[in-house]
Subunit: 456 residues, 2 copies
């Protein structure tokens, strides 16, 4: 069987790439309303790709937001079913001036596919579409396959919970498989065993009712930028702990074993700093880099703006200043509770010289998956087969807000089998996905189905 | 004479307005390179308006930046000469979405002229052009008149010092007259006796060498927005004093008399707050509002930006954050020294997790004019004639960076006879200039020349 898979992939590898590049050419930016038509176009393209790969059926299903693509190939209802979750939407490409090539004009350079969405997540979910094709066309499917490819992951999946709840029977599965994360490296394969939760808020600080001349009014009326800066300065103490009251209340203290496990991941601090171009790392005192990005919650300012930001100088005292702020959460924090704590903080520290509006953008709960489930064991075996090395379980720093809801609604565990790398520039200019990783993923996925069927 | 002036103005008032509106239609934004051609076009229009008003000569003179317009009407070299300084450049109009009508499509509404530059300074220097016309056309000039209308005031006059130094003979004068400031109100005419100096800098904070995924890297590498916010939070203490070491070292302590004089200005705190739409004012403890905006130095953040500032959410950990920051200076602070102190502060408080670039945009020294000079007395008499009330001397909060250089190079005092109002929305959306103020200015200026000639 493995030879037939390999031969089929080898024979079709150029087409497998070209098809994925076509998908990358559609600017499916879910955050921006101007891309509404592109979202529909992208959903249609995903649907068609599933049908072409051999799915029995595939359809674009409307939601209150961007559509969901559902597809399936049922070989035998008595066999185990694997539901692949992925997303066809991408992060906004800005700042555009930092891209070396157009974000939606994929370029292959030094074995890397440069485009927005190449790794997150078009390139990764498409590996599953091609794995379906390989197994279907070589008559070697070992499980039923379902696909749930959504268009709102990057904006917090606001409509997916309702969709899943309304289609439980359709989505019924034995395991959920997601490729939307990274490997430690090609030499050190790994499997994520957790995703952090998210609370993403926006804060608006208003001083005077209009922009003012900074000479005429400066010093006599509050500057919302100055006030916002003070609020932000107050969220971390000198040890870079988050100093908002209650923030750490529900954080699960890692066991010695968990900390030991995290230390297994190979880590070269000098290499890490060199890659980022920094002299010194920053972070919460008392924790290692992997702990900071894996088992500890964080609070980052994702954007700030106010006043004059153009060329040259303008002596304005602005009326408003804004910030986009997000916390990454770990077990047993609740996104709902942390959101309230964050909104309260920004409202309560505001002096009476300004007014503050703080609102939730979106959130999601942290998620953990056990390392002894059938799915995890199948994934570990699959990676060992193609990477010739047992994968290390690691805690991912990112978030897939819908995870806890998927598990709750469908009653099964989620397996994170990502094939990206940390330096793929996700959410940043020059996002890339290594060709090698793309092909390795396609090669590995059929083994997951094989081993999962055997475990079952 | 006064009847002839009045009759001429009355007969031509509609044209006086139309001509000014034509000037406002040219988007002469000096800060933005895309308006280079508009700047030249505006300079040509100013030159032509001077010739049409009766100037003997007028010309557009090139500098290393935007051109200067010079014009003159010499009636008798033995008579005193008044040099009018003004500027035809304007502040950038952003944020455009807050304008009720186009910034360069002047609209008259409720007796107010809405357009960028209406009060600052096209509408104000044009009063002098029309005053020239009135006196020239009624054969009643009492002084020689010179005009120096520059195109770089809003960007700190980087090329004017060199120009003035190179044309001392051409610009030779007995007094410099500037209308680029405000009256307390139409009921309480006032004359500015000081302008604050300026140090305008830009700060760039860099963390990692590229934008990062806030889930993968957040908590492990410095966020430049967080660091910049901490830097900004550190510039004011709890009493809103500026806490940067050395900032107040050279500030002249106001005498009891000066503070008493400032109290003469009518001030209704409730009205002031209501106009600005704030519950509480903000400012340095121990000083009144007029002291804060007049005799005390201030430090304002004019703009801040970094990360994602678009619609929706993006979970990015940005590589860079920026701020535009300016200090208003009072005697005896030196712009050069304060600029060094500011640049040093931002560089020295930077932790080793980031790199900081801090650079000067532009600066200018504070300026004071005595209240017993011939020019001041002539201006006070002129205002008393048309407003029927003796003007109050006040300390202006704004800056005209070139003042100290003009006085030094030309060896004469500057008189600030502005006809705007504090609520003209200078540097803000919906800048306006009241029609009443425009016409009152045109009516008042000829008296200045008359009284100045008599004093001489």
């Amino acid at each position: 069987m493995s030879k037939a898979w390999k031969d089929y992939q080898e024979k079709n590898k150029d087409r497998f790439l070209e098809e994925m590049l076509d998908l990358l050419r559609i600017p499916s930016v879910s955050a921006k309303s101007e891309h509404k038509d592109d979202m529909q176009r992208c959903a249609d393209a995903v649907k068609n790709s599933l049908l072409a790969a051999g799915a029995d059926k595939a359809e674009v299903m409307q939601t209150d937001g961007h559509p969901v693509v559902y597809g399936e190939k049922i070989i035998d209802p008595s066999k185990p079913t694997v539901l692949v979750y992925g997303h066809y939407d991408v992060q906004p490409p800005e700042p555009l001036e930092l891209w070396h090539s157009g974000p939606f004009e994929p370029v292959i350079k030094d074995g890397k596919i440069y485009a927005r969405g190449s790794a997150d997540d078009k390139g990764q979910f498409y590996m599953h579409v091609k794995a379906l094709e390989i197994m279907a066309k070589t008559n070697s499917m070992t499980t039923n396959m379902k696909f749930l490819i959504e268009g709102e992951e990057e904006v917090g999946s606001p409509n997916l919970a309702k969709f899943v709840s309304a289609h439980k029977e359709l989505l019924k599965t034995d395991v959920i498989l997601i490729s939307d994360s990274s490997l430690l490296s090609m030499e050190n394969p790994s499997l994520d065993i957790g995703m952090r939760g998210l609370s993403y808020i926006q804060v608006e600080v208003t001083g005077a009712n209009r922009d003012l001349h900074s000479g005429t009014y400066g010093g006599a009326v509050a500057n919302p930028i100055t006030i916002l800066a003070k609020m932000i300065a107050g969220i971390h103490d000198k040890k870079n702990h988050i100093s908002i009251p209650g923030f750490y209340d529900d954080v699960a203290v890692p066991t010695k074993e968990e900390r030991k496990l995290l230390k297994k991941a190979p880590y070269d601090e000098e290499e890490y700093k060199k890659d980022l171009g920094v002299e010194e790392l920053w972070g919460e005192k008392g924790f290692t880099t992997y702990e900071r990005t894996g088992i500890r919650p964080t609070l980052e300012i994702n954007g700030i703006w106010g006043g004059y930001t153009g060329e040259g100088a303008k002596t304005v005292l602005p009326s408003k200043a804004y910030a986009k702020i997000s916390a990454r959460l770990v077990p047993n924090q609740s996104s709902h509770k942390i959101t309230e704590i964050l909104l309260d903080y920004f409202k309560s520290v505001a002096p009476p010289t300004v007014t503050v509006k703080a609102e939730l953008h979106h959130g999601g709960e942290p998620y953990m998956t056990p390392i002894d489930s059938k799915g995890y064991l199948a994934a570990a075996k699959a990676l060992k087969t193609t990477f010739k090395k047992k994968p290390i379980p690691v805690r991912g720093g990112g978030s897939i807000p819908i995870c806890s809801i998927l598990e709750k609604e469908l009653g099964v565990k989620i397996i994170f089998m990502g094939f990206g790398l940390d330096n793929d520039n996700l959410h940043s200019p020059n996002e890339k996905f290594n060709l090698e990783n793309y092909y390795k993923g396609i090669e590995t996925i059929p083994y997951f189905h094989k081993f999962f069927a055997e475990e079952g």
